[in-house]
Symmetry: C2
């Protein structure tokens, strides 16, 4: 089969890889309907994270079950399924508490490389969720978004404890930040402040429910949020970048007693204890337990209540993956969908 | 009147100070029944925090109202009252959300120096809570504890979201840590693990409801907590020290999805973003909004449901305050009560 492999920063190739096979009785093999490039794939692409030899890429997937192991009972061949970037048993104490991405048996699906024609998914019963029917083509991007960026934005909003009638600020205008805006809207926020200086992203943020756009960053961005909230700060702030600046911007934009939900993968972040102490904020985040939200999100997508697929503004055949990486790296695309 | 003044690290004197007077119509003057030395007073005493010239000391107080300003309506002369170390209006949006220690009009009572015979309390209506009657002498230490250490331990337990049937670990065996054990018990925790290596403190921890005592610290302490919780970590961890080691011990002792409530004032703490991200913990804390809990805590004390006054294991006349500081510094006393 064809699959994407990163050899070094900036060096992404599509090449022939072995077809995946059932290795454990709990595995499933799926034929991908669509996959995509993640903002976190850009960290190694840009050389910020080390590339340890040729690495299969991709951890976002939606597709049709081809084969299941002998112990799999919850999904069957022919079903259209979505899963998270962490495989989980969905039965351990941590999963039952809603933290499937810290499951005691978790396995990173990214290690298998989802930017490919086929994918082995471990712990299929606990990881995959089937759509009620084969979806029409135009819904496939939305379902694919549920695999990571929608689930991650949604977790950011839940971790920031977005509530009806409250004010939410979103730091970061990538796909996750934009879908955090959508999540905040769905969760009933009254005012949603998107922090973005890119016109096409501002536009999509407004479509998704942003009521205000703030273009300033850092301390100036914080000052603008304070201006818009009677000097107090937002009730909820969602952080979707993962840098020192964005984390401090998020913490400082929240009011005392407010909640910061952070889902941008932390890179060289160090939080000053004393400032955090006196900020009085709640801090929660980490790798999104997408599995917790998948059934609800897939229903909202299937019923066309939400359209998270709009974050894909570049749609390419898998063979042109390198172009997709490049476009995202240069911020010409928000997110690239790949057709295997 | 007599009051405690710190001149330099290790140099604490009791000397004649001006009697406080009503300065604002919202002030009250109280005659202290008891005051005490706080763990946080030891930071400047030990030279860890700078002493900026002679400083009136103390921020914990319980006593009888002597005089009120013209705008005060909620308390009257003759009432026995307790207040928090931060004066608050208790009406602003932040106070109404339960964060009175970040009130938009907050004033540190410590600036006035509560280790004295009399104290001016600003924003009396929003700060002080009156007992229904003049309490018997033996309840005064308990009421005094409510002013800070009990309220702070209680906030730690609330911030760590202690819930019935769950497992709680407490890092720190000072008065706040011990009262966090008491709070966890009251909030229905099933298992309470006190981390302490001091025999008299272990004993009081058990009296207050600790079911287990762990003497190890740092990584070994974390390993013991994991052993005691099926490898997962505690549901809730209360941090009551404020150092880098104690914060990391608290974060690493919590399970994914668990809650860390931190109330030890942070000193030179820096939290690694990536570890925090993958820990999946909730983090909340800061200066305790004691005022939120005072009515409930004072009722529990008055009805002898709880006895937080036991943390005072040294009882001295105000004139001997220096001895009280020394005993706490040398860990010969958990907490010193001073009688003005």
């Amino acid at each position: 089969m064809q699959g994407v492999v990163m050899y070094a920063p900036g060096d992404v190739r599509v090449e022939e890889r072995d077809d995946p096979r059932i290795a454990q009785p709990t595995d499933a093999i799926i034929r991908l309907s669509a996959t995509c490039v993640c903002g976190s794939d850009l960290w190694p692409y840009r050389g910020v994270e080390k590339v340890e030899g040729p690495s299969p890429m991709g951890h976002e997937y939606a597709g049709v079950v081809e084969e299941v192991g002998s112990a799999v009972t919850a999904v069957r061949p022919g079903q259209f399924v979505v899963g998270s970037f962490f495989a989980s048993d969905n039965t351990c104490e941590i999963c039952r508490a809603g933290y499937q991405s810290s499951c005691v048996h978790r396995e990173p699906v990214g290690a298998m490389g989802a930017q490919a024609q086929r994918l082995r998914v471990p712990l299929a019963d606990g990881t995959l969720v089937a759509a009620p029917d084969m979806p029409p083509d135009d819904l496939v991007p939305g379902y694919l978004a549920a695999s990571d960026v929608l689930g991650t934005g949604w977790f950011g909003a839940e971790a920031a404890r977005v509530q009806p009638g409250k004010t939410v600020a979103v730091v970061g205008d990538g796909a996750v930040g934009l879908l955090a805006v959508l999540a905040a809207r769905q969760l009933g926020a009254e005012r949603i402040i998107a922090m973005s200086r890119h016109e096409p992203r501002q536009k999509l943020a407004r479509e998704y429910g942003a009521t205000d756009v703030v273009t300033e960053r850092g301390d100036e961005g914080v000052a603008r949020i304070k201006d818009l909230t009677g000097g107090l700060g937002a009730h909820s702030v969602i952080e979707a970048v993962g840098t020192q600046q964005s984390m401090m911007q998020a913490i400082r934009s929240a009011r005392p007693g407010g909640h910061v939900g952070y889902v941008g993968v932390s890179h060289d972040v160090s939080l000053p204890g004393q400032e955090l102490f006196f900020s009085h904020v709640h801090l929660h985040g980490g790798p999104a337990p997408v599995r917790r939200f998948l059934p609800e999100l897939m229903e909202l997508i299937g019923q066309r209540v939400i359209d998270p697929g709009k974050v894909f503004d570049l749609d390419l055949p898998l063979a042109e993956a390198a172009r997709g990486y490049q476009a995202m790296d240069e911020r010409r695309a928000i997110k690239t969908l790949l057709r295997p």
